[in-house]
Symmetry: C2
Subunit: 469 residues, 2 copies
């Protein structure tokens, strides 16, 4: 439901949803397949250190814990109430939560506005707002933080630790990102599914993420924006990069977004392009791009201008890249036009048939020493604002050693505050190198175009902060 | 160098490059890092069953094999001469090859036209053409076929067996595809690097691939097209889908393409859009799309019309997909507009809060039985031309079992000749499911948009064969 602006009492209490000392699971169940059971399982499995209080009037014990008939019966203070009871019982439960002075409620239950029960949902929202009790959901999958070993919901993964806060309206896509996080070392600070967002809005989680010391990039998946004014207002104030993906552009997508999370899309897609531009939010088109750009903005400083040097041992990879830079409206410049002496210095690190155009092609015979020298020359050149390194395995390429060289160069040049993006295209050893690079804070990708999109996003954020400052 | 049209003597002899009974390695070397050594290593390592004859006047033995001073000294017939001698020696070697009546020559050596020695390269071409000796290269990485366990060049991978013939002008990108093939089960029939393509042209390998019984899709990576007329002519005649990626669109890309493979790009990028459209070639934009579309066209029949049903357990994945279908100009239709009774039949396989719009959202609680039933209903409906299945792991999803169900449905419905494309977004179990599906001939992808692009390409090919027939 619409809000005019970010509400302080909501933002102040969001920490109770991501780092609660005590959780009441209302609708706790002995049946292993029920949400009311899985949430307790998940909390225990992933290492939650706080207290868990199952609530269910028809059980004595759930998951080995004593079960309470009502939340009011619990002696302890309750930070978070996780509600997984049938939809028609939720209102009464909220009354209990208010009486108990619970700090925040999360409603996992479905079958509200998304199936036509908008009135029933609005009644919950109004009740919570009247009592200043922030409500997350309903119709959501959960939330958590790998830093806290906290996984609260019915979520089969905990992501690896990293800089991206993921705020998603879709449960399925949130879970996909969490799975990808483990598999592809895409690190997160926290994650939350917002579902129907009856009360707590994107903008309030964005405000929270801005204050969160572990978050360096805020990634938002949107199906519908009830409160564009609040969103615009907070995005303009935030000091961290924000990446958004917004779905529901097609006529059938508008219907599907409603059926999914009761999202209403009365504005056309261009409206969102303009809103995001005004808000200083970088819009991603595809899911892969959403993840890739978020990783880049979470790990690298912004790009000050478009003086980028690309260094590769594969001419083909260089061509895919320079075409994609052109396609995205940020064509590569020739090395000689970026820095007068650089071409000559780079030539020391390539064979006679290499090329110092840009992409700089140090050729398929490139050794680790040549890679390291070329990377270092480019990074240290004061006229260069960012370096895109590319590894293409040939019969003589030691992919792992080149990745280590890249990490060494990056560590030595960190104080220069320049983006260093890597691409490594090929088989398993390339995937391993990408993971190694990511684990050392370098954003690395398996295709040329993904690396280029990362660079372009870093420049876009550079432009956004020029306007903001 | 330009050809007017595909030459029969070239196409007839290309089999000697991909399935030779005997190979002379001219420039064979005892030094393990030299191409003239690596090629022999690679042939042996990957299981080449034919005869290898090292040629080098300064060695007695290479890799344990007796070494010949000149190719003419070998008593046996030579199918393929693989040349890895310095550029200035190549012409004399070619004279020997003609004298020996070698069937085809492959020149790995670099430093010809791409560094300004166009005359030197043209001289080789003219000599070979005068003597009807097909020349592949120079400046290439090699070729091979996993079906023959044949890996001839300096190539660290052999791909897995499958339907795609990959014809690439870039060595680095060819190697990337071969590495990806192993890692992501992207199957190939054969692969070849064309390098500077001084003589043998894309069009001749396309003609060869059309005759090759193991190839179902022809994938071509192009840096420059010397002979667009021959290309157009053969593509219009071919009976298999062709996917092309063409780089060198940007001003700096034009220079880089020349520096890389001496490719001359005098036409702008739109020229290629038009040429490919006229030729019935599907153009890919990014490398990932190039691989994804090639896999789809290699494994699935074309899509007869746009009556596609998408079935997912994740509303968010459905939204990403229906937006992307819309973006690509092929919006999803509602289920009720595709087939009158289908929605009612699908409802039997989802909970009350599922959606039969399209995407069909069988919800995060979907069981294997529900998946199987929904897939089967959609595949068997005579009004449905193709099905896009999507698996989003929730806490109750058995990803592996759903993949097996998809395989079962596909096997039962194969005779219907409809595309069945799968998407599986998430962690390692999703990657495993994608590999399982691919191993059973179903094209499957890790993101919604990739699956959509595959479907759209299958429709494009449907349109192309409607025009051809």
């Amino acid at each position: 439901m619409k809000i005019q602006r970010v509400r302080d009492y909501v933002v102040d209490n969001l920490g109770y949803a991501l780092n609660p000392k005590s959780i009441a699971v209302i609708g706790a169940s002995r049946c292993p397949n029920k949400v009311g059971h899985k949430v307790i399982d998940g909390l225990n499995k992933w290492g939650y250190k706080g207290k868990i209080y199952p609530v269910n009037p028809r059980c004595d014990k759930v998951a080995g814990l004593p079960c309470y008939a009502r939340v009011c019966d619990i002696e302890d203070e309750i930070d978070l109430a996780f509600i997984a009871v049938p939809a028609h019982l939720v209102y009464a439960i909220l009354q209990d939560c208010v009486a108990k002075q619970v700090k925040i409620v999360v409603i996992a239950t479905s079958a509200f506005k998304e199936i036509g029960r908008g009135d029933m949902q609005d009644q919950l929202t109004q009740y919570c707002r009247d009592h200043k009790l922030p409500l997350i959901g309903p119709n959501l999958v959960g939330m958590g933080s790998p830093i806290m070993n906290f996984n609260c919901g019915f979520i089969p993964y905990l992501p690896c630790v990293g800089p991206v806060a993921l705020i998603s309206q879709s449960g399925a896509n949130l879970l996909a990102a969490l799975g990808t996080s483990q598999k592809d070392h895409f690190g997160m600070s926290f994650f939350v599914g917002l579902g129907n967002k009856a009360d707590v809005d994107f903008s309030e989680f964005i405000a929270y993420a801005d204050n969160d010391e572990n978050t360096r990039c805020i990634a938002v998946y949107i199906e519908g924006l009830d409160s564009p004014e609040a969103f615009l207002d907070i995005c303009q104030k935030v000091h961290k990069p924000i990446v958004a993906i917004k779905v529901g552009r097609s006529p059938i997508g508008v219907k599907a977004a409603f059926a999914h999370t009761a999202s209403e899309n009365t504005n056309d897609d261009k409206y969102y392009d303009e809103l995001f531009a005004k808000a200083g939010v970088i819009r991603a088109t595809t899911w892969q791009q959403f993840l890739d750009i978020s990783l880049a903005l979470g790990t690298m400083p912004p790009l000050k201008n478009d003086n980028i040097i690309m260094i590769t041992n594969g001419g083909g990879s260089g061509l895919l890249s320079c075409d994609h830079f052109d396609r995205l409206g940020m064509p590569l410049k020739e090395v000689k036009d970026i820095s007068a002496g650089l071409a000559a210095r780079l030539k020391a690190y390539m064979p006679m048939f290499g090329s110092v155009l840009n992409p700089v092609d140090i050729s398929g015979t490139a050794s680790v020493t040549q890679y390291k020298g070329a990377f270092m020359q480019a990074m240290r050149d004061p006229n260069v604002s960012g370096v895109l390194g590319s590894i293409c395995p040939t019969a003589v390429t030691d992919v792992h050693a080149v990745a280590l060289a890249a990490i060494e160069v990056y560590e030595k040049c960190k104080h220069l505050n320049k983006p260093f993006v890597m691409e490594c295209q090929g088989g398993q050893e390339c995937q391993d190198a990408i993971m190694l690079l990511r684990d050392h804070g370098i954003c690395a990708y398996p295709t040329a175009e993904q690396a280029v999109e990362a660079m372009v996003a870093l420049r876009k954020y550079g432009e956004i902060i020029e306007v903001k400052n």
